[in-house]
C-alpha cells in the first residue's frame, strides 16, 4: 500500500501512509492512539475506501470495494471489536459470509471439519460447534473471530488487537499458528498494545505517527526504545526537559500540600487486573493516559458512579472530615464530583437554544426556589464564566450554533464548572479544539485548580497531559501501571508505560 490518505470530515486520519508486507512475513503495525492504525486496517480489509493512494497486491494495483472482495483476494481480517452474531451457533459464526445469497459455499460436513480444524489450531478442541455464540466466554468469542478469518483461503491475515481478551497460553498457541503459516509462505499483519508481542513475533515493524509512516525496520535492528521514540516523535532517552513545551502551571501548584478530596481504595476494574489506590488533592490536576481500551475510561466512570468496580471503593472526603462512598452518579453529583463526558458535541449541545440557556441548563436545579428560576444569579455566573474563559460571543441570547466549535466547547465545559464542583472529571475535553482555544482552556483549568478544584483529566494526547497536569497515571490492561510526576517525565516515558513498561511485561495476565 502506498501513499494512502483518508480523511473523516476535517480530521485527516491517514496522511500518505505507506506499508509494505512481503510474502512469508509477520509484520507489526505500531503507533499511538489516533495514529491511523485502525483506519489503515479498515482500508486493507475493504471496509473503508481511501481518498487517494493505491493498493498493490501481488504486483497489481487493486481496488477493494467491500470486505467480501478483500477476502476474495486473500486478505482475511480480525477486527478490534469482537464481531459476532450472538444468536447464531459457533459454526455459523465461523462460516458466516462464505456463502452466496442462496447457495451454500460448503457442505455441512466440510464446515464441521473445517471449523473443528481451525478451532483446534487455536487450542479450542473441545468447543461444541452447535453452541450459541452468546454462551461463550470473551476469550472464546475472540478466538472464534480468528477462526472465521483463518478458514478462508487467506494469504494475508490482518489482526487488529486480536489478542486483547486472550490469556498467555492462548496467545502462544495463536502465535505458533502464525509462525507455521509464515513458513508456508503466508503473511501476517498485526497490531498490538503489548510491546513484547511486537518484538517477539514480528519480522518487520512499521511505525505510524499522525497518519503517516515514520519508520519501517527489521525486528532484529529494532529496540523498544527506538520504536517508542518513533511513535512519540522524539529520540529515545532524550533530555526530559525537552518534553516540556508550553507554560507550566503558575504558583498554584507550589502551595503547601492540600488536603485530599478523593480517595480511590483498592479499586479493581477487571477480574484479572491489579487493584488501584490513588489519592487526589484539592487543586491537583491528575492526568490519565493509556492506549484505547486499557481501563482508563472505566476508571473515570467508577469515579463518578456511572460504573460499579469489580471490587474496591471510591471515597469523597468532605472538608469537615466526613467520608462518603460514591455509590451512584447522583450520589457523586451530590458530593461535588462532576463528570464531563466525551461526546459533548452530540450529547450535550442543544443546537436551537441560546448560548445562555445552554450554559445554565444544569444550574436550574441548584438555583431555583419553589420551582421558580432565579435568572439573575444564573446571569451573574454566566458573566463570571464568560470573563474567565474569554468567551467571545455577540450576545448570550443568540443560538449556540452560531459560535465557533471552540467556543461551543467552552460553554459546555462552563456548564459543569458553574456548578462549582469539588472534583471535576473530564474525558478528553480538548479533542478537536484549535490551538488558541486550547491555550485558553488550559488557563481555565489552571485557574480552577488554583481555586482548589481537583481535576481528573483523561486525554488521548500525551503533549496535553505533559502541559497541564501535575501527575500522570498510566493504564495498561485494566491496571494502573505507572504514576509519573509530570515534571520529571518525558513523552517517551509515558509512551513506554502505555505499552507496558518492562517489569510488567508478560506478568499482566492471571
Amino acid at each position: 500500500m502506498e501513499g494512502l490518505s483518508r480523511s473523516f470530515g476535517e480530521t485527516r486520519a491517514l496522511n500518505s501512509a505507506t506499508l509494505r508486507v512481503r510474502p512469508s512475513e509477520i509484520h507489526s503495525l505500531v503507533g499511538e492512539n489516533g495514529s491511523g492504525k485502525s483506519t489503515l486496517i479498515k482500508i486493507l480489509s475493504g471496509v473503508l475506501r481511501p481518498d487517494s493512494g493505491t493498493l498493490v497486491w501481488e504486483g497489481e494495483a487493486r481496488q477493494l470495494g467491500s470486505p467480501r472482495s478483500a477476502q476474495g483476494m486473500g486478505i482475511a481480517t480480525v477486527f478490534q471489536e469482537t464481531l459476532i452474531v450472538p444468536e447464531m451457533t459457533v459454526r455459523d459464526n465461523i462460516y458466516l459470509g462464505t456463502d452466496g445469497l442462496f447457495r451454500s459455499g460448503h457442505r455441512k460436513g466440510d464446515e464441521i471439519a473445517g471449523a473443528r480444524q481451525a478451532l483446534s489450531d487455536l487450542g479450542m478442541d473441545g468447543l461444541d460447534l452447535d453452541r450459541p455464540m452468546w454462551t461463550l466466554s470473551l476469550a472464546e468469542r475472540q478466538l472464534t473471530t480468528v477462526a472465521r478469518a483463518i478458514i478462508r483461503p487467506w494469504r494475508l491475515l490482518v489482526l487488529d488487537e486480536a489478542t486483547s481478551a486472550l490469556d498467555a497460553q492462548q496467545r502462544d498457541r495463536l502465535f505458533d499458528y502464525l509462525r507455521l503459516a509464515r513458513s508456508q509462505g503466508r503473511s501476517v499483519l498485526f497490531t498490538s498494545h503489548r510491546m513484547d508481542e511486537v518484538l517477539g513475533l514480528a519480522d518487520w515493524i512499521t511505525v505510524l505517527r499522525q497518519g503517516a509512516t515514520v519508520a519501517t525496520m527489521g525486528a532484529s535492528e529494532a529496540s523498544r526504545g527506538g520504536i517508542l521514540g518513533h511513535m512519540s516523535g522524539r529520540e529515545a532517552h532524550a533530555d526530559p526537559a525537552v518534553a516540556e513545551p508550553g507554560p507550566r502551571r503558575g504558583g498554584a501548584g507550589q502551595q503547601s500540600p492540600q488536603r485530599p478530596v478523593l480517595r480511590v481504595a483498592e479499586l479493581t476494574l477487571r477480574a484479572a487486573s491489579k487493584p488501584i489506590s490513588v489519592e487526589v488533592r484539592a487543586g491537583e490536576i491528575l492526568g490519565l493516559a493509556g492506549l484505547e481500551g486499557q481501563g482508563q475510561v472505566g476508571f473515570v466512570e467508577c469515579l463518578c458512579g456511572l460504573r460499579r468496580p469489580v471490587d474496591g471503593q471510591v471515597l469523597a472526603l468532605e472538608d469537615n472530615g466526613e467520608t462518603h462512598v460514591v455509590r451512584s452518579y447522583r450520589g457523586a453529583n451530590r458530593l461535588g464530583i462532576r463528570y464531563v463526558p466525551r461526546d459533548r458535541r452530540y450529547e450535550g449541545l442543544f443546537g436551537p437554544l441560546s448560548v445562555f440557556d445552554n450554559f445554565a441548563i444544569t444550574l436550574w436545579g441548584d438555583l431555583s426556589r419553589l420551582g421558580l428560576l432565579r435568572r439573575q444569579q444564573a446571569r451573574k455566573r454566566f458573566a463570571d464564566f464568560a470573563e474567565s474563559s474569554r468567551l467571545v460571543s455577540a450576545s448570550p441570547s443568540r443560538t449556540i450554533s452560531i459560535l465557533s466549535g471552540g467556543n461551543q466547547q467552552k460553554v459546555l465545559l462552563g456548564r459543569w464548572i458553574a456548578m462549582r464542583p469539588r472534583v471535576l472529571v473530564v474525558n478528553d475535553p480538548l479533542r478537536g479544539v484549535d490551538h488558541n482555544t486550547k491555550e485558553e482552556l488550559y488557563g481555565l483549568f489552571r485557574r480552577l485548580a488554583a481555586d482548589g478544584v481537583a481535576i481528573i483529566f483523561l486525554s488521548t494526547e500525551i503533549a496535553e497531559l505533559l502541559t497541564l497536569t501535575d501527575q500522570i497515571a498510566v493504564f495498561h490492561e485494566g491496571s494502573l501501571v505507572a504514576m509519573l510526576p509530570t515534571e520529571m517525565s518525558s513523552d517517551t516515558d509515558v509512551v513506554a508505560a502505555m505499552f507496558g513498561a518492562d517489569k510488567h511485561d508478560g506478568s499482566a495476565d492471571d
Binding site: P67, L96, G97, S104
Partner: protein, 339 residues
C-alpha cells in the same frame, strides 16, 4: 426424587443429534405452537361445529390471507435494523382490484397467466421497497408506509366498494379438493418451496444480518442485496395472500386490504419472532397467524363486537411482545445457570 427420574429419562428421546438440532433451530416456535394447540382444543370444545367438514374448509380459507401476509411481514422483520413492511395489507388488497377490474375484463383469466402476473407484481413491488430500504437507506417504517398509502389510495380510487368478478378457479381454491381444504395445497406448495430455500444459505445470511449487521458485512455478506431479496420475497408472499383473498371475497375491494397489515404485525409478535430481527423463522409467522385467527374465532363465537375485537387485538399485540421478552429472558437465564 421424581425429577431425577424424569431428567434421566428425557435424554433418550431428545438427545439424538437430529432432533436436538431441529429443536435448537426452532426453539422460538415452541411457544406459538403450544398456544396454537391449546386454542384449537378450546375452540373445538366451545364451538360444536368447529370441526365440521364444511366449516373446516371455510375457516382455512379465511385464515389463509392472514397467514400469508404474516409470513410476508416475517421476512423483513427478521432482516433487522428496524425492518418491517407495512404495505403487505394494502398490497394484498390491491391484488383483488387488479384481478377483478383489470385482468378479468381484459380476458386474462387462466391461472397460468394470472398467477405469474401476481408473482411478478409482488416481486417488483417488494424490490422497489427493498431498493428504498437497502440502497436509498430510508427507514423501513417510513418507506413502507409510503407504499401502504400508495396501494391503499390506488385500490380505493379504482374500486371504493366490493365489485368486479373473478375467475372460477380462484373461488374453488377456497373450497375443498375431496376431503382436503384446497388451501392446504397452497400451504404445502409454499412449505415445499421454502424448504428448498432454507436448505441453502439464505436463512443463515438473513438471521446473521438481522442479528448483527456489522459482523455480517465484515464477514462478507452482501447486506444490501440480501435486504433487497428479502423485501422482494415479502412482496411475493403478500401478493399470494392477495390472490387467495380475491378468491375468498369473490371479487375486488379496495378497502379490504389495510387491516391485514395490523394482523400481520400481531401475528409476527405472536409467532415468537424478535421484532429487532435475527431470531425466528417463516414458520413463526404462519403459527402466529393461526393463533391470531383462533383467538378471533373465539371472540366471534362469544359475540364480541367488532370494536371490542380491535381492543382485544391491541392487548394481544402488547401481550405477545411482553411474552416474547419474558420467554427470551428465561431462556437466557436457564442457559447460563446450566453452565
Amino acid at each position: 426424587m421424581t425429577s431425577v427420574v424424569s431428567d434421566r429419562a428425557r435424554p433418550s428421546v431428545l438427545s439424538t443429534p437430529a432432533v436436538r438440532q431441529i429443536l435448537r433451530r426452532n426453539t422460538y416456535a415452541v411457544v406459538p405452537l403450544a398456544m396454537l394447540i391449546v386454542l384449537f382444543i378450546v375452540n373445538a370444545a366451545v364451538q360444536p361445529q368447529f370441526l365440521a367438514q364444511h366449516n373446516w374448509a371455510t375457516s382455512m380459507s379465511v385464515l389463509c390471507p392472514t397467514v400469508l401476509t404474516a409470513m410476508a411481514m416475517t421476512l423483513p422483520v427478521l432482516s433487522g435494523n428496524g425492518g418491517i413492511d407495512l404495505s403487505v395489507g394494502p398490497l394484498a388488497g390491491f391484488m383483488s382490484v387488479l384481478i377483478s377490474t383489470l385482468l378479468v375484463p381484459a380476458g386474462i383469466t387462466s391461472p397460468l397467466t394470472v398467477i405469474p402476473i401476481v408473482i411478478v407484481f409482488g416481486l417488483l413491488s417488494g424490490a422497489i421497497t427493498g431498493v428504498l430500504v437497502a440502497y436509498v437507506r430510508l427507514p423501513a417504517i417510513i418507506a413502507t408506509l409510503g407504499m401502504y398509502l400508495f396501494y391503499d389510495g390506488l385500490g380505493t380510487e379504482v374500486l371504493p366498494q366490493a365489485g368486479g368478478s373473478v375467475p372460477v378457479w380462484l373461488v374453488k381454491l377456497n373450497g375443498s379438493v375431496g376431503p382436503i381444504p384446497a388451501v392446504w395445497v397452497v400451504f404445502a406448495v409454499i412449505a415445499l418451496l421454502w424448504t428448498l430455500v432454507s436448505r441453502g444459505s439464505y436463512m443463515r445470511n438473513l438471521l446473521a444480518v438481522g442479528g448483527d449487521e456489522r459482523t455480517s458485512y465484515t464477514a462478507g455478506v452482501n447486506v444490501a442485496r440480501l435486504r433487497l431479496v428479502t423485501y422482494s420475497m415479502g412482496g411475493l408472499l403478500a401478493c399470494l395472500g392477495g390472490l387467495m383473498l380475491t378468491g375468498l371475497i369473490q371479487g375486488g375491494d379496495g378497502t379490504v386490504g389495510p387491516p391485514y397489515t395490523i394482523s400481520a404485525i400481531t401475528a409476527v409478535a405472536l409467532g415468537g419472532i424478535s421484532l429487532a430481527g435475527g431470531r425466528g423463522g417463516l414458520l413463526g409467522g404462519a403459527l402466529g397467524g393461526g393463533v391470531l385467527f383462533l383467538i378471533q374465532e373465539l371472540l366471534t363465537d362469544a359475540h364480541v363486537s367488532v370494536y371490542s375485537v380491535s381492543v382485544v387485538d391491541g392487548i394481544i399485540l402488547i401481550g405477545a411482545l411482553a411474552l416474547n421478552g419474558t420467554v427470551e429472558y428465561l431462556r437466557r437465564r436457564s442457559s447460563v445457570s446450566r453452565r
